[in-house]
Amino acid sequence: MSGVPEQGEALAGRGAALGPAAGAARASACAAEERRVQRRELLVAFGGSVGLFVIVAAIALGYAALGGSQENTAIVLLMNMVLVIGLQIFSGNSGVLSLAHVSFAGIAAYISAILSAPTLVKGTTIPDAPFGLAGVELPAPLAMIVAVVVTTLIAAVIGLAIARLSGISATIVTLALMLVVFAVLTNWKSLTGGAEAFYGIPVTTNVWWGLGAVFVALVVARLFKASRLGLRVQSTREDEVAASSSGVQVVRSRFWSWVLSSAVCAMAGVLIAHFLGAISPSGFYFTLLFLTLAMLVLGGEYGVTGAVVGTVLMTIVSEATRYLGDGPVIFGVDIPPLAGLSQLVQGAIIIVVMIWRPFGLLGDRELDGLLSRRLLRGARSAGGRVATASMETAAAGATATAEPAPETPAGATATGEAVPEAPAGPGTAAAAPAADAAPAAAALTVRGASMHFAGLAALNDASLEVHSGQVVGLIGPNGAGKTTLLNVISGLYAPTAGEMTLNGVSLNGLRPYQIARLGIARTFQTTRLFRELTVRQNLEVAASVARGHRPQAARSAAEILSQFGFEEIADTKAGVLPYGVQREVEVARAVALGPGILLLDEPAAGLNDAESMELVSAVRGIRDREGCGILLIDHDLHFVMALCEYIYVLDAGRIICRGAPEEVQRDPLVVAAYLGTRGGEAPATAPTMPALGEA
């Protein structure tokens, strides 16, 4: 730490506790602990999928035992279940509705059909098939494997493009994709035989094949959802911006869920082909799409259990409507006379579910979750400490675990003690360059950042730096460009000009997730939590990124939970928490990233004075424990003066002043900017500027 004057010394005192050795030890202990936790979670999830499988198997085998058409219904149930579970893997976790997965089933069905149909049949149906396929005749199981692999590869290529899209755009592309696949299957006559049925496919699918596929699908889907990758995909579903700012590579995680789900849907497709023995393009079109969507939506697309329950219930409904419609008993091949009836019911079910239970009957609940939560609750209440998720406990937890807490009372000591010797000089231009001499200490530097929106300069040549162990304030009137600067630093905006570095590494041109992985964490002005995920999962998203990319700084989610006093709300969904607690969880999530620099966007917004002062000590606690530099935005001068050692004042996109709080407070430019003398109104005699004594 040599050569770091003034501001660095404060850091030396605080950061010493976290030497490199301690960090490494912590990292390995943390990693081992996490591996244990993760293994247990996956085990529980696996147990859950086995449990589900047993139930499904009992239903299917029981029904199949009735023989005849009942057996076929059981097989259809299982095949549809595989398809719906496959769709759940992508749409449920990523929140992007895909209409194309039915087509992947179709592609796989056709590949397997073409490869396995007897050459004798193909000689008459598709004699001119390309690649000499008319002369190929693979055994059914081999054809099925090849079909699944090839379909997955095709899906992967398409996924490279689709994973970049989100929301409605993505859905529309999948719709287009479905129509394209249908057009190809119908019109590539030399390969598929066109719109008419492709027949002669060896019929091999029976209940056991169906059960095997369901087992694979269940385990894959459930383990994926419980896995770290699955969790990341879910975080992108909840909030893409927050996910990428927590280090999640949105496109990549979405891509893998797309590939996995396509593979499972392909599996369903080959089963269908080898069950029916004859397939046509229309079998993998709107009718099947609507059916699978109704199934997924009814049970709840966020969960694997929901997919299973929805499939079973919709199958019962379909059977009932078919009975009512008095159609022939051939499932799924041709539209029976009153097929309109079953679609009528499907449409009605989708509407009713959307209106009354948008997350389906089960939401994201899983069988294993229901069981294990009951077990865990018993275990936890034994040793659980009472925590009433409030700012109070967060602060208490913070100081409790902090090693030496140098300045606990937030009151009078605040500015006096925390501010190291203010740099010499009159508080403006000359102040900061002192730190330039020691670039290693300036963790984050921003040089000349400008940001123009369609000609409007939101930021104009703004420079600042934040040192490790320092709490820096960024204040300014509304619209001064504070949040824009934060967005530029965290990579959400690409600045028009300027240069940013973290510990000497350039941040320019990096994506938000890359910047987060380098150790810059942030919160948002309006909280952006992963609302449908639990508090623990919210933290785990960031903690898992830290483990992968900054192991020396990583800590387990459990550790953060107890540090913030969140034990009691660990398994509560973040979206249902009261406002103040949500803000804390967001801070905790940022801390879980093990940041070198923490950016807080108006952490005190909406808090009363007492809460603000508690926040002061909470933020200090974080700084002391993490040794990170903190840059916080607020326009509550009181709060900022009490907390920050160094302050930058931003006005109309320019840094108009910087220095220690008392210097900034005296600066006429700041007074003018804050009280609006430029606007012409007479400034009241600065009553809103807090006197140091009371801060």
């Binding site: 529309i172 719709l175 309109g340 009836l341 679609q343 449409g347 509407i351 959307m354 948008p358």
Partner: protein, 295 residues
């Protein structure tokens, strides 16, 4: 050259109907963020109302008018029964709801009327044509283009000159602000659906004048085309939707006219491939600037 001009005329004509559909979809989307999958079913509904009018022996002008009124009522019913309850839900929930509505309407006609095609004949003068040079101009072309032009003009007047129109434009920017200004949210949304129903009704009459028949599933592809037009123009962008409708009309006519015969089956495939690629490259639509999400 004449062939080219002929195709341009066909493109404008086809594009006009797509533009009418796309506009209706865009108005609703711009205000409540609903991607209405059931928009195409409005055409189906119009077709069946017209079929009913024809069955009882009414003249074309009358049943066309009743058809348009029926379409507006259908749109209002959709809003009241299905979309109002999910108005504040996520876009995904709204989209799935509309998918349910779409499935239900098509299935209802299939179940309660007939899965088969029903005749909705157009008067003879519609297919009459004049020849100028080598160019064949049908009454249907003139009618389509004229009706579209008048409808767009009326819409423009409504949006610029009436209170409700101004409120709708404002709602497209910031709905909450409009509510705070004392304008009833329901009034704005109901008007939007009424307009989208009216435009769809006009389009349906024009489409049925060409096809002379209705079936339960005719709406879905037209609805998808309206979608595609919106996507091309940028979702929720009214003039983008209008332009997107024409682009789609031209592309379709061009592919149909100049694609080699052995590939003609792939026309829709190519259109949607084009759409998919366009969207991947410009997720916000071809005509809208890239907008960064506010955080």
């Amino acid at each position: 050259m004449t062939d080219f001009l002929q195709q341009v005329l066909n493109g404008i004509s086809l594009g006009s109907t797509y533009a009418l559909l796309a506009l209706g979809l865009a108005i609703v989307f711009s205000i409540i963020g609903l991607v209405n999958f059931a928009h195409g079913e409005l055409i189906t509904a119009c077709g069946y109302v017209m079929f009913a009018g024809y069955s009882v022996g009414l003249p074309w002008f009358v049943y066309a008018g009743i058809g348009i009124v029926g379409t507006v009522i259908t749109a209002l019913l959709m809003e009241r029964l299905a979309f109002r309850p999910v108005r504040d839900a996520s876009p995904l929930t709204m989209m799935l709801t509309s998918l349910g509505v779409s499935i239900m309407i098509a299935a209802a006609f299939e179940t309660f009327v007939s899965p088969r095609v029903k005749a909705v004949p157009a008067p003879d003068w519609i297919s009459s044509a004049v020849h100028i040079g080598g160019l064949r101009i049908q009454a249907e072309h003139i009618l389509t283009i004229g009706v579209t032009a008048v409808a767009v003009l009326l819409l423009l007047l409504l949006l610029k000159k009436t209170t409700i129109g101004v409120a709708m434009r404002a709602a497209a920017e910031d709905f909450n602000a409009v509510r705070l200004m004392g304008i009833k949210a329901n009034a704005v949304i109901v008007t939007a659906f009424a307009i989208s129903g009216f435009l769809a009704g006009l389009a349906a009459v024009l489409i049925l004048a060409r096809r002379s028949a209705v079936n339960p599933h005719m709406g879905i592809f037209l609805g998808i085309n309206a979608f595609v037009a919106n996507v091309i123009g940028g979702l929720g962008n009214l003039w983008g939707a209008l332009a997107g409708g024409f682009v789609l009309g031209f592309v379709e006519v061009a592919l149909r006219a100049w694609l080699p015969v052995n590939l003609s089956g792939f026309t829709t495939g190519f259109v949607f491939l084009f759409v998919a690629i366009a969207l991947v490259i410009r997720p916000g639509g071809l005509f809208s600037p890239k907008v960064a999400e506010r955080v």
